[in-house]
């Protein structure tokens, strides 16, 4: 793979990844981090809404819904197999 890092919205159904970083330092980024999306934390994709957005994720043992403009700011890497 050329780039092992990708953004969270590219994660497929039932796939998991490890958070690398949250882009930006505005309120949205702070809120994402406060909700527990922090580097080295695993996150998995549960499902998309009928119209493709938002998407449901599992992180820290709970379920959170993120819109695309939020999930694109979360950079993740594949889990080590």
């Amino acid at each position: 793979m050329t780039s092992p890092n990708f953004s969270l919205d590219e994660l497929g159904q039932d796939e998991s990844a490890i958070i690398v970083e949250i882009l930006g330092d505005d309120a949205v980024a702070s809120r994402l981090m406060e909700m527990g999306l922090i580097e080295d934390e695993p996150i998995s994709m549960i499902g998309k809404a009928p119209m493709g957005d938002p998407t449901e994720f599992a992180v820290r043992g709970y379920r959170i819904s993120l819109r695309k403009n939020e999930s694109t700011r979360v950079i993740v890497r594949r889990e080590p197999k």
Binding site: S30, I46, G47, P50, R63, S65, L66
Partner: protein, 744 residues
Amino acid sequence: MPTESTSKRVRTVALIGNPNTGKSSLFNALCGMNARVGNYPGVTVEQKVGRLSGSTEPIDVIDLPGTYSLAARSADEAVAVNVLSGALAQQATPELAIVILDASNVERNLYLFSQIYELGLPVIVVMNMWDRVSAEGLTVDAELLSQRLGVPVVCTSANKRQGIEQLKKAIEQTLKAPKPTPLPEQLARAKFPAVFHDEVKLLSAWLESKGRRATTYEVDRLLIDSDGHFQKSICQSGLTEIGERINEARDRLQTAGCKVPMFETKARYAWVRQLIDGAVVRPESRSASPSDRIDRWLTHRWVGMLFFVVVMFVVFQSITLFARLPMDWIQWLQAKAGGGVESVLGPGPLRSLIVDGILAGVGGVIVFVPQIAILFLFIAILEDCGYMARAAFVMDKIMTTVGLSGKSFLPLMSSFACAVPGIMATRTIENRKDRMVTLLIAPLMSCSARLPVYILMVSAFVPENTYAGGWVTLQGLVLMFMQSLGALVAIPVAWILKKFFFPGEPATFLMELHSYKWPSPIVIYQRVWERLVAFVVRAGTLIFCTSILVWAAAYFPGDHKSLDLSVMALEKLQQESSKIGKRPTPDTEAAIASAHEQINLERSKLIESSFLGMAGHSIEPLVKPLGWDWKIGVAVIASFPAREVIVATLGTIYSLGSDADEESQGLKEQMKQARWPDGRPVFSLATACSIMVFFALCAQCSATLMTIRRETNSWRWPIFSFVYMTTLAYIGAWLTYQCFQLWS
């Protein structure tokens, strides 16, 4: 007496936690349902205070808004910080913070706790929704957590009333105990980098040299939150150099490799991880939970959409179906009570006040109760079982096109039945800006009170043309257009409101999706009851007052003597004819009919000479460009308490009696015969359409306006709604009339 005042001293505790942790059910379990509700000065954040029930000394419980963090970015968070730190003069400083956690999601919930713990208040941790812990296969060692934290931990299931007594005991004990001071290493900020601690010391010293004492927590926040709440308040107090000092400190931190604000969340979550290590154990299964499996279907591309449509269909069908019967009873009861008053009280101002003012006013409030009860019954069930969040999830994409979120869908949808419950339902929207925009456009949705106006106008003035072999009628098309006009106009209105009145960062949609569960009857009962009381007591009184005012404007200053005599004569005639017991002779029938005619004539004269009639005459130049005469003007003003009143007022003005309805042929005939002084008919297709467009967009509904007042805790927004909607309605009606004029 000083001894008495000290013994009666009210202690204050604050209840705080993340949204959706069952905080309001816990509050109700602690305080009963008698909360004092107000709002914090200057912000539209609800202030809810209750008295702890069953305690030996008086203890007030402040229910703080649900929040994920104390970073004080939003009004809710700022209020929480201000109350906890005692910065509000009109609110007693709490002596204890009760931090409520979702026991099934301890890790994320402890983040907020880690911030509250640093404020220096004594703390009790409540693990609510304890029943979910075993249901989800979790292991939570509350005792171990209590040991590690050095604070009491109480497990509750507020929706089942479990653990409440233990919590009350813990509150009383903690208030009696000497104030414990957590060791510095017990706090999450011990995990902050050393450079940050140095900067905090530097800034504290600088602030002190300027005569400002700040707590460590405040200094932490000054350095972490860019342009945050504390910085603003210090700037406002005149110490404007603070911004420069903070920026310098941040630059130094940056070069030292301490990333602001990321390091805070990282340090806190690291602290939480260490704290719960071995105390909270999740089942090590990577397969989907039962709740995830349900979600797979309920958010499925087709099944999920279909399910959503079915749920909405059931909800709104139930409102119209089940509310109709009780609403009919209420109207029947009102008529019965009116009849009762008329049988004991002779005609006169007192009888008119009771029947047309008070009874009509009370009826106008109570008539909303069935709809509100049914809608909130469904909302409470859907919220409590977890589907409400999924409904928002499913509808989000569509609603973002108008700048709102999925949570706005249900309040707007229910506004098609009636804006009053719809506006009350906007409480389910946490984002303040989204909530305000939704609340302000909700009255544009075509509610059921507009239908009588449309039916009257359409059936009287829209030609009965049919197309497509009789399957499509022009009347039906016009009716459909009127029904959807408000929603169409709402789209640009929402956009403008969002852009100019509630600007700012794009709303985030970080929504927690709880696992599904069976709804709790206690919680549902409480939600419905709370909403009904809020409506009847707080909005109801205002609606009632408006009804009385409009009654008075229509009654005074005319001389009702001759009308009262005619009514008395008619009632006597009716009594006599019923006493005889036989079928009334043609003579008495004719006499009764002529008496009716006489009364209707006098009524229409009286309304013309009333304050309302004067107002109608004086606004005639204003409404003439809309194609209206003064009579329509009067009817529109009189319909301020409720839109459908226009039909009855038109009935009175056209001397048909106020019991005319939208189906009555007499009213339609009279309207068709109405003439301008120059002989042109007043009512044409153009006028009818201009009236309908006006009613589609106007805010002629005092119940709606008073509910907005109640929900926003300010007169500003009902006035705003009235002005913007009336302006829209006027422009819309004017354009309609002028277009028709040009076209014909």
